[in-house]
Symmetry: C2
DNA sequence: GTCTATAAATTGATAGAC
DNA sequence: GTCTATCAATTTATAGAC
């Protein structure tokens, strides 16, 4: 493993270790509900999930769920908001590196690895926005805009100081994020890559895309 | 516009023009149903779509739908199968070019542009597989494996004859497909790119990823 | 082939006892 | 805070008239 690779892994792991999806839910019951909802939303989608699924997955009756959440949609919203906040934290932490080339490598590594390791959460985050109420969707859209802005800012910085050669910063940002996001759709544990290996590979491919010297 | 760019556009447009999603549905009624189902499945997902949505979208009663399709799931299956067949045709046509570098550029251009232009169809194709019965899902999985095999074959060919420098053919194939597929998730007409411009940009970015000389 | 009417099951959510 | 029981609405699908 080369120096750049080792550094990317180390920095990326530090960022990933700092993320805690569960911070918002304190009790065991809350966590059981949120965990069951995550599993079912990821597997069947929001509309394909009934309260019965969530109740059985968490060992409660459907009526008991309403003590903890006002509605099925509120449960999705809480989950989606927390997941988006985590993703934003991840991207911000990576982009904070003063060297744009390092920042991009670490960002793509950690973002990709997160989408592979936290595939369940990531699927809900990336693919269930359409089920939110208009008001809730607007909150989530704001978090997504923030994330995209951080990536565009990083690519702009790298392009200006000559670290990258990018024909279209906005388009390259979309491409970089797409690589990681789409992992949540197709990745299955036990396949040809570990999340770590896939993150490193995609970090290299993204570096090439941006015209970074190997 | 450079020569390579112009050639990519021309070849890609020829491929796209040869695709006909509707060939399978002959009558105006069938097309109205399929069109309404596509719209609603893409917007709300399969489970978020009721027969009432499809009936109203096609100007029929829910009962009349059953004259043309055995069930809601059979309708999704027919749609998904046709869309996957189209995507496979597209990829095969592009990969047939004897020059691997040209083939990759044309493939990414056409695949990306299709996901932008046919965003409605592409969303159903890429994101509604989970709603299929096990037997139907297996048919679709076969078409997806074929598509991936074509791309991996092309990248292997290009790597062997020196057109590309790819560290991991399988991983690079996944990345190339992800770029196009994820377009169906985020692309909205009227944004910063036309489907044509996005296809050209992504063809260039994919070329860089594969170590192709500009 | 299309309609109205309706069946049979499931859904999200609430009432009230403990 | 959890349960059983239940409501009101909606869902997929069918029956039968035209």
């Amino acid at each position: 493993m080369g120096r750049v690779t080792a550094d990317t892994t180390t920095a990326g792991e530090r960022i990933l270790a700092g993320l805690d999806l569960w911070a918002e839910w304190a009790t065991a019951t809350q966590r059981a509900i949120v965990g069951a909802a995550l599993e079912s939303f990821a597997e069947r989608g929001f509309h394909g999930t009934s309260l019965k699924h969530i109740a059985q997955g968490s060992g409660l009756s459907t009526a008991a769920l309403y003590v903890h959440f006002a509605s099925k949609e509120e449960l999705l919203f809480a989950l989606s908001r927390r997941g988006h906040a985590i993703a934003l934290d991840l991207v911000r932490a990576a982009a904070a590196d003063p060297d744009p080339a390092t920042a991009v490598r670490v960002l793509v590594y950690a973002f990709t690895r997160w989408h592979a390791e936290q595939r369940t959460t990531a699927r809900v985050v990336q693919y269930e926005q359409g089920a939110l109420t208009a008001a809730h969707a607007e909150v989530i859209a704001g978090l997504r805009r923030d994330t995209e802005r951080v990536v565009r800012g990083l690519l702009t910085r790298g392009a200006e100081d000559g670290a990258f050669t990018v024909p279209d910063v906005r388009g390259a940002s979309a491409a970089v994020l797409s690589l990681g996001i789409d992992v949540a759709r197709w990745f299955v544990p036990g396949g040809p890559w570990t999340p770590d290996a896939l993150g490193l590979l995609y970090a290299e491919l993204a570096g090439r895309m941006l015209g970074m010297p190997a």
